[in-house]
Symmetry: D2
Subunit: 195 residues, 4 copies
């Protein structure tokens, strides 16, 4: 079984911001990726989530969408480092770059660049019934945008804020190293049977 | 793949306190249980962690140690509800009740009833090299006790505090439902090669 | 000097939600109420903030605006209990009920009932140059609404999320009692000199 | 009225760690310093708390105990910058350096250098009945040490963990800048009447 245990420093990352290990693990828990499935990672950044998703997907495939050239390079390097031949990088900006996606079981959404509703429309068009969208929000504005964007969509939405304070040793004591809080939302698409 | 996705309300729990879903998922991530392994759950409570561990362990086995008769009954009920024939309940108090444990790859420690050093000694006696102990602390006192207890032990220790605020809908808005913060420690036992 | 030290249980509160002591204290710190000033408390609830503001304002005055009849009664009871003859209750809904306000040095805004921009317009109309608005947000939606509402206003805005976990004794240990996180924003109105 | 509103960057600080503004304000709220009183600040660091205490104490006096030469210099510089002629620096290490303290109404305790019980004994010897000790803890170990140290002392103890995430603007959005969590304890010394 794969266990989402990759440490932050194992990823090649340059100066691109990266989801921290504890958050990445929780996103993967909520994503509940089954082997063989198709996963899209929108705004893949360094590809750290794509790698974890690819390891979980096994014979399945991960489509990593990223517009930043530095990020695109990092995703490819990390995919190679972790032996993830099942990651396909799609260069471009969501929602346009999502057009070529196949039907996915899971869609991960990091940044949305202000295009959340359009990205959710595109996600819905490529998400299987019962599939799930996992969104992370790291700004004061995005959290409210996400709950409002799902108000009238046929999804079961749950969300929470999570904050981690790592302990680090200093002399005889352990101090706290706070990480930024992140909001994690999981939206499960209703199946036809439920409507 | 198993994905630690069991919701709190799916467990039979009576009035016994239960580790919440997000914490349970994070403990499982840190435990990194491989199929086929032996896992001990010290202070198993309702058995919610034992069940998640048993599902992850597959052909392996989970030893759930619990002294509280109500808890013992709940563990058995939950094991049955989730079809976990690989959970063996050991009635008794740690560290004494740990005597009959086989060599384990993972030992989960919830409450210690004030016997932390002795429980860690017993855990060490039954933990394979490279194995890991995952401890949760929910009191102001226990956090410091744990870091101090590991000061001179041949383990690589990391720990963090994690707090989750769930969002719940109220009318047109979403309010926060705060969960108690929990400290999660992971101690990996050094292999002979490292010493 | 007044020190914002009133405990939660000293207020008469019925079933009306009340800002908790630690948050109330921080709001008062950010409000920086000087003796003699005029303060408005929009959505005064139980009047707990109005009472603290009235004690800080001394010879000044606090205008407590509240629409809920139960709340109005509680504000009056609490004003009497704490000997705050300088609290004037204005029954009604913001922004309309703000029409009769004098020029204020400080305006506290709790709930806005979805009328944030109009309430900020009314607040601005009654706020002295250099005066400050202190807003609390307790929903996932309001935080973003507030930062956006101030984007083009001539105010210096700062804000933070604050979460308190109280410790409570249980047997030999202290457990955490988490309070809901609150966002506190302070907006200082620019004086003519700055523009 | 003094309002604990000094921003972090107004203090001269060098490389000495400093209690952040929101925490400093909350410590002052809990200290409830009355004008004219005597206050001791044990482990005064940069003197930021001493300055706030001195402004609140008015005609009273603040005794800032610090062993670090860099800190001693900073306390003197900050006292001068904020016009606090009522701060007296005591060079030395607690508890020894506390010998010369007069009877105090409030004693602030930051770091204890591992001598907590002895420092609490010294504090008790110099604290007026009804006086209060406010302690801050920033390590995983100290929190438990403090609650245990007060278990048998004739003080009413309350404590909480507080975490602040400041919002900072980045482009069109506001990100979170997390501050380290701090535990704040307030211990009020029982008067003879209560025993």
């Amino acid at each position: 079984m794969h266990t989402f245990g990759i440490a932050d420093e194992e990823f090649i990352r340059g100066k691109v911001p990266m989801t921290k290990a504890e958050i990445r693990a929780m996103v993967m828990v909520k994503a509940a990726i089954a082997p063989g499935g198709a996963v899209a990672d929108i705004g893949a950044g360094t590809g750290s989530l794509s790698v974890e998703a690819a390891l979980a997907a096994g014979s399945g495939k991960v489509y990593a969408i990223e517009k930043n050239p530095e990020g695109i390079g990092l995703i490819r390097q990390n995919a190679e480092k972790f032996g993830c031949g099942n990651i396909e990088v799609i260069e471009g900006t969501a929602p346009e770059a999502m057009d070529s996606l196949p039907v996915c079981q899971v869609i991960l959404i990091g940044g949305t660049g202000g295009h959340l509703p359009a990205i959710l429309d595109a996600a819905d068009a490529h998400l299987a019934p019962g599939g799930r969208v996992v969104l992370t929000a790291v700004t004061a504005e995005t959290t409210g945008d996400i709950v409002r964007a799902f108000a009238d969509r046929p999804y079961a939405l749950e969300g929470f804020q999570m904050q981690v304070n790592r302990l680090r040793k200093l002399g005889r004591y352990h101090l706290y190293s706070p990480l930024s809080p992140v909001f994690i939302f999981t939206a499960v698409k209703e199946t036809a049977d439920r409507s």
